[in-house]
Symmetry: C2
Subunit: 245 residues, 2 copies
Amino acid sequence: MAETAREIAEELRERIRSGALRPGARLPGEPALVKEHGVAKETARRALMLLVSEGLAVRRKGSGTYVREFQPIRRVANKRLSAEGWGAGQSIWSADVGDRPMQVTDLRVYETAAPDDVARVLGLDDGAEVVVRDRLFKVEGEPVQSATSYLPSDLVRGSAITQEDTGPGGTYARLAELGAKPVRFVEELRSRMPSREETERLRLSEGTPVVEIYRTALTEEGRAVEVNRMLLDASVYVMEYRITG
Amino acid sequence: MAETAREIAEELRERIRSGALRPGARLPGEPALVKEHGVAKETARRALMLLVSEGLAVRRKGSGTYVREFQPIRRVANKRLSAEGWGAGQSIWSADVGDRPMQVTDLRVYETAAPDDVARVLGLDDGAEVVVRDRLFKVEGEPVQSATSYLPSDLVRGSAITQEDTGPGGTYARLAELGAKPVRFVEELRSRMPSREETERLRLSEGTPVVEIYRTALTEEGRAVEVNRMLLDASVYVMEYRITG
DNA sequence: AAGTGGTCTAGACCACTAG
DNA sequence: TAGTGGTCTAGACCACTTC
């Protein structure tokens, strides 16, 4: 009787780790904890919130608090380098749920002045115009990733890249036709907690970080022709990179 | 007067985003918010905790709440592929603080039964022995990353890999001498909130995710000879990958 | 309607930090 | 020692979900 929020959380954490409470299972609610441990409702609440902020649990208003489930989507950066000595079935986080279909929604195409950092990477003057392609990816109706591409207006003006439908082969095929075929890519990743807006856009539950990826596409000559900023729901993704020494 | 915790947080968030409150600056404390907004202390506290859980602020007991600073370390997975068309100065998150020296601490080398997932990736039988090399990396005295390598005991027994000092060229040079030179690597990354133990080991402040990386080293023939599990303080790292289409 | 979480209050006591 | 954060209580009212 009469424990602290941390102690109650530790007990529940242990029950989750041991498997006594499986993913998706319902945790004892606030009233139950109040009774069992003889604490105030706020204290019980804090115990549960601790698990939520650790990403271990998810709260559903009016329903209960549940052990979080993790069924990742695998994002393989270099799909091209397939088979050939890379073995099979040797991934740490099971391949799982084999390629669920992904829908593209909320596509918007427009033109603006390039943000400072993007302008710098693309080697553009301050305030130069870029074509922006912004979209949201969903799996089973749930948003899992947003992506915003920036391309120099001077380069892509007049091509299908400025249309909603970029045609067969997509943006990169059009860039190739413009004599700016991307052949190398740099991805810079960072993980952090989301802002309020990001939480809403990706419908994140509390305790969920995001992964922010900037992908720069380079031509044979080393010219940067596209910057793509992606924001991933970290509770849903495993990123894979293949590196040749 | 009389706002909610969310509203007070939003106001402070705005002050941070606008730059009125710079990184490292001190936020108004609980008593100040109580006075300014006419709310209870707990409400003021919740407003500040919201910013903390978003990774925007850091609390220092007895001192105050401060706007978080982000000065990343750049981790370039494929260092080998340098220069050559990859351009320079074109990174999104500034290269910064140019390679601060990193110390290796808490090195432990021992042998045990391989964890299930590691055994599977290394293609070992259940319960097969592995040599484990565990270490902690620090920058300016602060832990930023832990790394745990697993190598099949049958392969590395008798080599310097089982010693604390692996000799010139390190583990990979020794593996090459054993006829198991790693030439390809697969990195699988995931980001999530840390467990309590991880928070302590990396001395993470609240609202800080971790990045978990499993790096598998493969020989020319595609044999997995090492699995390295790294855990990074996400508030400190930017990961970079270079991909050839 | 009963049960769940969401939020707030007004007060208490403690531990740590800084001058 | 004054100021800051850390934690807890006992109660209140609301909104949502489930049946």
